[in-house]
Amino acid sequence: MRLTPLLRRSLSASVDQKLTFARLWAVFDAKHQNPFNSAELIANVLQGKDKPLYHYHTDCGDHVVVINCKDISLPWYEWKYRMYYHHTDYAGGASWTAAWEMHDKNPTKVLEKAVYRALPGDLTRRLRMSRLHLYADDSIPDEIKENITRQLRQLRKVPRKLDDIPEDERRSFPKLFDFPENHTL
């Protein structure tokens, strides 16, 4: 087949089309992140709202791989007071599970429910949830890891524990004040 200018233009147009609508796989580190704020970010990526060709009829969302789901941090006393409701449809079948209890049973469940809530409640919700891959720790299966081409930034800094700070750095930190003589620790 001869490569005419028209054919070359249409070929490059189809390549442009595939490049523009490429479905990426993004990775997000949930370590020390608020799951409800992170869910909004993840839901936007799942919907494709971070692309300039977003349209509510276009299926242009990305895949999101979330790692370290077991290390999420809830604000205030929410581990204790956030309740997940379930009813078995039998009389007296209502149950309320606290967030810490849910997290003990399944360390990815709190984030999964937060993202499900952040997505719009239409027919595309389940399809978008199927593009969300949650992992409790930082080990990702190889067939998923090879797809990843994009990193989402965390929303807040991960603080360092005192034990993680090396001895030299701790000693070199300036002394701001002295305790008085009669101060008892």
């Binding site: 971070d50 300039p52 977003y54």
Partner: protein
Amino acid sequence: MVTLTSVLAHWVKTPANRYWKRRRVFIESGHFYGRSRNCYAIAIRRLEKAWTNAKHGRADLKKTTSQTWQSRISASTESLGLNYFPFAHGLAHQQVALGKKVLADLAWSEPRSFRSLVELARNDACKDPAHIGEPNENVILGSEGVDK
């Protein structure tokens, strides 16, 4: 015999009037489903409802289109590290008179031009507020415009 004026003569009930009145309605209801296509009493009710929906739809279309443009612009500016409102304000301050529609089109069709627009707006936002001159007269800010 009563003689009618030319105005009232139009209201005389004749089979011909009845036919054309219904024909006018059935032309508009031709694409409806079921009896609302062919039965006049149902068709006229469905047609009025359809016209009401169409009226609301005309307003909604403008709204959703504008939301789509804004979402597309903010998606591009945020990936370049600037939010929508500083961007829009910076462009207005630099006297770049481009509307939402044109900016949204530029965002996907000419990405490199769009990046230079974002840098223009960012330079404007990063300027020392002491050196910023008089605001553009063409830009009507919400509260100030109302007061004047």
